[in-house]
Structure formats: C-alpha cells, structure tokens
Amino acid sequence: MTEAMHLILIFEDDQAIQNVLRMLFEANGFRVVIAETAARGEQDARLHRPDIVVVDLGLPDGDGLNVITAIRAWSPVPIIVLSARTAEAQRLAAFENGADDYVMKPFSAPELLARVRAIVRRHVRGELPMAVLELGDVSIDLGRRVARRRDGSDVRLTPLEHRILETLARHGDRIVTHASLIKEVWGPHRNDSRALRVYIGSLRRKLEVDPSRPRHILTELGVGYRLVIEAEAVGGN
C-alpha cells in the first residue's frame, strides 16, 4: 500500500545477504538501495533520503557504529542494526549511538520485516504522546494516571510504576536503555538498576496476562526494556 513508496537503504557487504534482503524487501513493496561500504552508503543516504536504514556493523571500510553516528548527525531516519555481533556491549553501543532497533544475524525474514514495518509505521505516524495506552486487556490513561481492566476492575499503579510506564510509552516500541530509563524516572543521580528490576517485575505482575511470559514489557538483555503496544510485533511465533 503506502509502503510502495518506502525506500530502504541497506548497508551490507555480503553478496548472499544482499540478495536475501533485496528479495525480501522488494517482494514486500519496498524500494531497495544497497551500499557495500560505509562511505558509499553515507552518500546514498544524502542522495536518496531513505525512509529507513538497515546497517550491518561490520563493514569493509569502517564500523557501522560510526555510520549510525554520522547519519544521526543530520537525519532522524529510523535505523535498524542487522548484525552478527551478539555481545551486550555492542548492542548497547548501537542504541547509544542512535539506533532504533537491533536484529541479530542469523535473522528470520518475517521477524526482520515485522520490525522494519513497525518502525516505519511509527515513524510515519509520528511520536504523538499517547493519551491512553492499551496493553492487552488493561487500558492506562497516562494523563489521568488511572488504569482499568476490560472487566472494569481497577489496576493500582504506584507513582513510580506510572513514571516508568510513561517513559517506556513515550519511546513507542523502541528500546529504552537502562541508563536513560533510570535517569528519566529517578533523576541523574541514581545508578542502581535494582529498583528498576523490582518495579518492572511488579508492573508485569499488574499488566501482563502471564508475567513470566511478558508480551508488552520486554527485556532486551544487557540493553534495556521495550514496550510493545501491539502484541503482534513480538518475535516470529
């Protein structure tokens, strides 16, 4: 539909993966530009003004992290990292440099497509502050700070729980790193992840259908949390 207009710029030097990605996105109505090097890709980005960028971290002429920083310097275009680097520190660095999402290689095609679509959709829609958050059968009025289940029963959230939820919601379903979440909720002088863990746990117990299998408040190991508003975006099950 409207996706027919969307241009995706892919930084990837491996021929095989280039082919797979091109097939995947062209088959789903994207226009695809592929850059084999960081330098070429940065030029393409200025030239084509893509709607979304997919970056591999290991590029022949430089680190993908620098590509993210370079693009972020002039454009808010959504950036998804597609990388074989699994180390937490690497992922965290990508988010801190301004990446919007991180998909690990080997990737599953439907999952990558779902993430790309979700991000594009949100970007197009714009990040309007949500007044009412619908998570499963709980609806939370962020402005009035009340939460109610579909059956009419109240869900009592503490002020801190509200602040955490609000912060997560403000970032849409992008990952919020631990550090920035703590900073936004507790202020700049706290550096204790324990309280955060405890509150996330209690939020899940109040909002998730099965708190041990969260569908909305997801942990990104070593990086942070992500609030998934439409449950369909969860991994490829």
Binding site: T86, P106, S193, R194, P211, R213, G235
Partner: protein
C-alpha cells in the same frame, strides 16, 4: 717506713684497681648495652647503653649502706661492715646492669676504705692487712656482680631466643596457611608490626625490577607509606640489608631480589641490636621463601590448566567439525534441490526445503553460540560482568528465545513473587535455562510438561527445571555434565553435548552448581543453586 710505703702501695693499687674497674666498666657497658635488649614486645623497653639512673642508683646504694653501717661501726666490727657492703653489692647486682654493678662494687670498696678503715675519712690505709681486706672485698664484689649479671644475661638471652622462636613460629604457621602472595605479605607485615610496633611496608618488584608497594588487606592500622623508593631500589640491586631512614630488608628469591620490606620501628632508633636485625632477616627470609612457594604453586596450576585447555581445544575442534558438517550437508543438499529449475518443485516441497535450511542453519548457529560461550568461560578471564537481575525476567527471556522450539511442549512457570534479585551475568543464566529447555525439547516427546520453579533459601536460591518425560538415561547423572556427553549416544540428535557442560560451567562461575536427578514421580529434574548476595540496601517496595 712501713707506714709510708704501705700507705703509698695501697693508693697505687687502689688507683690501678680503679683503672681496671673503669676498663671493665667501659667494655662491659659496650656489650651490655647491645646484649640486654629484649625482644618481647610486651616486656619493658630495654635501657640504652648509657642508662645513667642506674649509675646513680648504684651510688645511692653505697650511700645508704654507708649511712646504715656508720653508726653501727663501734659495735659491729670491721668484718661485719665488710659483709654489709658485700650484701649491698649482691642485692644491687641483682637489679643493676654490669656497669652500675661494677661501679657499686668499687664505690663500696672506696666507701669502706674512706669511712671505716683507719685513718678514718681518708683513702690512706694505716695497716697493710687492710689492703688485703680491700683487695679481697673488691674482687669478691666484682665476682658476685659479674655472676649476677651473667645469670641475668643468660636468662634474658634465653627469654629472647624463646620469644624469637615463638614469633617466627607464629609467622611461619600463618604463612603456611596463606595461599597467595597478598595474604602472605599481610601476615608478615602484621607480625613485624607486632614486634617492632612501627610501620612496615612491603615493596614488590615487577618483571622489570621496578618496586611498588604491595597492597595488604586488611591494611594495618598504622600503614605508613613513607619510604625512600630509590634507596629501596638500591637495596634490590645490592641484595643486602641496609639502614637509612628505616630498615630496608631484601626479599631474596632464587635468582633475584623479589622485593623489599621497609621497617620503621617505633620508637625510632638509629641502631638496632644484632638480635633484632637477625630476627628481621629471619622474617624476610621466611616471607621470601613463602612467596617463592606461592609462585611455584601458581606456575604448576597454570601448567595444569593450559594442558587441560589444550586437550579440550583438540576434542572441541574434532567434535565441532563433525557436528557442523552434518547440518551443512543437509543445507547444501536442500539448496541445490531448490536451485534446479528442471525439478519443478511444487510450493509445498519448496517450503519444506526452505524450512529445513532455516532449521539446520539455526541449529548450527545455536551450536556456535554454545561453543563460543564455553570457550569464553573456559579460556576467558573468568571474571563475570554481573548486575542485579530478577529471576522471572531471566526465565522469561529463556522462554521467549525458545518459544518456537517449545511450541508443542507445555511450559509451566512457578515463581514466587517475592524472589530476591540475584547478582549474575544475565546471559549466562539465560543460557542455563535455555539449554535446559532445549534439552527437554530434544529428549522428551512433544506434549511433555516442563516446569520451571524457584525457591529462595537463606543464602542461596534454588532453581529447578523439571519435566514429566522419560527421565534421565541410566547411569551416573554427573556424567551428563561432562563435555561431549549426550543423554543417548549414537542418536541423531544434533549438538555436541555441550549444553549441560555449559550449564555447569556457568553455574560454577557464579559460585553455584547444577545437579541432575530423576523426579520422584518420573521425569528428569535439574536443580541449579546460585548463591544469594547480601541484599544491601535493597529497594523497598513502594508503599501506597
């Protein structure tokens, strides 16, 4: 005539005796000063060589004796007066050092001569027989003084030796228990400080011979970092004990000086008696020996570990190459099938082949992750990047990663809401759960229920992953945790059998362990224990 000569002779002999006595006095003072030091820290501080109050005391004793004897002399007779003086010498020598004792003997003799031997109030001697009396009196007094002092000195030396042996023994016992250089150094510093009251710093030389202070934990309360590094460096080159602002003792190793102990005794003294220096040398030798032992033990351990690693590496390579080729040939086969246009595969078959390729590739990726994880744990630095985590969070992640794999299994999560946070490296704990879930999917039929539960105990948390499947294979359950072990050998199940080995390595890295057993009501059960860190100022739940 006799009168005059006899008068001259005694004065001459008195003078000579005096000179002799002074000689004895001085040589004795010299030695006594060095010898009569005591090692015991609790013992009263030893007197320096010129401890003049003792000389005053000696003169006072003479004065008092004379004061007592003088009024008695008309009734007492000279013989008894002599006895009185000898008694005074004996009693005095019991308490005084050699020098004062000699002074006491001489002063007594002179006082007797002056106050009692006619002519009174003169050092002259009227009757020659008194010369003999005076001579014998001096000799007897000196002998008594000497004996007394010797006895005391022997006792003191014996005491000191005993003290020294006890101190050295205490230190060597502690050094024998210590396993690392730091603990050894700390023990040595503590003992030296206990004996010398001052401050002690141990400087260790690095590979290039540069000295730097060894941090000792807990730091002695009187830790004082002042020392002359350049001088200490000199001591390393020379390899000899040297004294400057403090005492610098080299720690001699087999080939080179490994460090320097800097001792600054309290109260500060420039000169320490030989015994104390010997004791310090003994301390240094003990510490050097122990450090040598620690180093050898370390080297042996390193050699053992590297041999073990080499073996593991070889086995690992052999298994991996086999276990990677199998899925690779499936992938290559499926790919070539799809690529042939003349086979005209229908959509169903293409889908089957595509799924097969994806599944095999994922298996390989999982295998690779396992291998890398294990390598990192086995060959890595061994330090964990820990953070506080909620157990339910980690369980949730493991379930999410294995969601597709476990689609046909029933998973039950049974975690109490008040579980404490654990201080762990999250990826490793997720890996443990992930591997156990994967194992359950491999070795139990679809439809089996897998239950994950946790119980907090006082100092640890018990995590269990149990199923109601066919249970563990017969045999020793511990063997499951060895590398390259599979529940059923010769099966077509993919994986090098690293899963449980990784679980064990990960649990042990955290100071915990994992065990496998059969459930009472059938099925396999894996129990992981992880130590609970003290929840220092843990966040209290918000009140509302």
């Amino acid at each position: 005539m006799s009168m005059h000569t006899s008068a001259a002779a005694p004065s001459f002999s008195t003078a000579r005796s005096l000179r002799q006595a002074t000689d004895v006095l001085f040589t004795a003072l010299d030695r006594v000063g060095r010898m009569i030091r005591r090692f015991a820290t609790d013992a009263p501080q030893p007197h320096p060589p010129w401890y003049w109050p003792d000389y005053l005391r000696a003169l006072a004793i003479t004065g008092i004796t004379t004061a007592i004897a003088f009024p008695l002399s008309p009734y007492f007779g000279l013989v008894n007066i002599v006895m009185l003086y000898l008694l005074a010498t004996t009693v005095g020598a019991l308490r005084l050092g050699r020098g004062p004792s000699v002074l006491l003997a001489t002063a007594n003799m002179l006082a007797f001569d002056f106050f009692f031997v006619p002519p009174l109030f003169s050092f002259d001697v009227e009757d020659t027989k008194y010369l003999f009396t005076l001579g014998v009196m001096l000799v007897v007094a000196l002998v008594i003084a000497n004996l007394m002092v010797s006895i005391r000195r022997h006792r003191e030396t014996a005491d000191a030796r005993e003290q020294r042996t006890a101190v050295l023994y205490a230190m060597s016992r502690e050094l024998a228990v210590a396993t690392d250089a730091q603990a050894m150094t700390a023990a040595a510093v503590r003992h030296i400080c206990a004996v010398f009251h001052g401050t002690t710093v141990v400087l260790m030389a690095d590979a290039r011979g540069r000295l730097s202070p060894m941090s000792t934990q807990p730091a002695p309360p009187s830790a004082d970092p002042t020392f002359d590094l350049e001088f200490a460096q000199d001591v390393v080159t020379r390899g000899e004990r040297s004294i400057k602002d403090a005492i610098y003792l080299p720690l001699r190793g087999v080939r080179r000086v490994k460090g320097v102990i800097v001792v600054r005794p309290q109260p500060p003294t420039r000169v320490l008696p030989a015994e104390q220096l010997n004791l310090l040398d003994a301390f240094a030798a003990q510490l050097a020996l122990s450090l040598q032992r620690a180093r050898l033990a370390e080297a042996a351990e390193a050699a053992r570990i590297s041999a073990e690693r080499a073996l593991l590496r070889n086995t690992l390579l052999a298994s991996i190459s086999h276990d990677l080729r199998t899925p690779l040939s499936a992938i290559a086969g499926a790919g070539s099938l799809i690529a042939q246009p003349e086979y005209a595969l229908n959509v169903d078959r293409r889908t089957t082949l595509g799924n097969l390729i994806e599944r095999k590739a994922r298996d390989m990726s999982q295998l690779l992750t396992n291998v890398l994880e294990l390598m990192q744990m086995e060959f890595g630095s061994g330090t964990l990047r820990t953070d506080w985590h909620a157990i339910d969070d980690l369980v949730g992640l493991a379930l999410r990663t294995n969601e597709a794999r476990l689609a046909q299994w029933r998973t039950v999560v049974n975690l109490p809401a008040d579980l404490p946070l654990i201080l762990v490296e999250a990826t490793l704990i997720v890996q443990i759960f992930s591997n156990l879930l994967e194992n359950a999917a491999k070795y139990t039929p679809p439809g089996t229920t897998i239950t994950i539960s946790a119980t907090a105990r006082e100092k640890s948390v018990l995590l269990t992953v149990a199923d109601d499947g066919p249970g563990l294979p017969p045999g020793d359950s511990e063997r499951l945790f060895e590398k390259f072990q599979r529940g059923r050998s010769e099966s077509n199940i993919v994986g090098v059998g690293l899963g449980l080995a990784i679980c064990r390595a990960a649990a042990r890295l955290h100071g915990g362990d994992i065990r496998a057993m059969d459930n009472a009501c059938g099925g396999a059960r894996f129990e992981i224990t992880l130590p609970l860190e003290p929840q220092v100022d843990a966040p209290a739940p918000e009140l509302r």
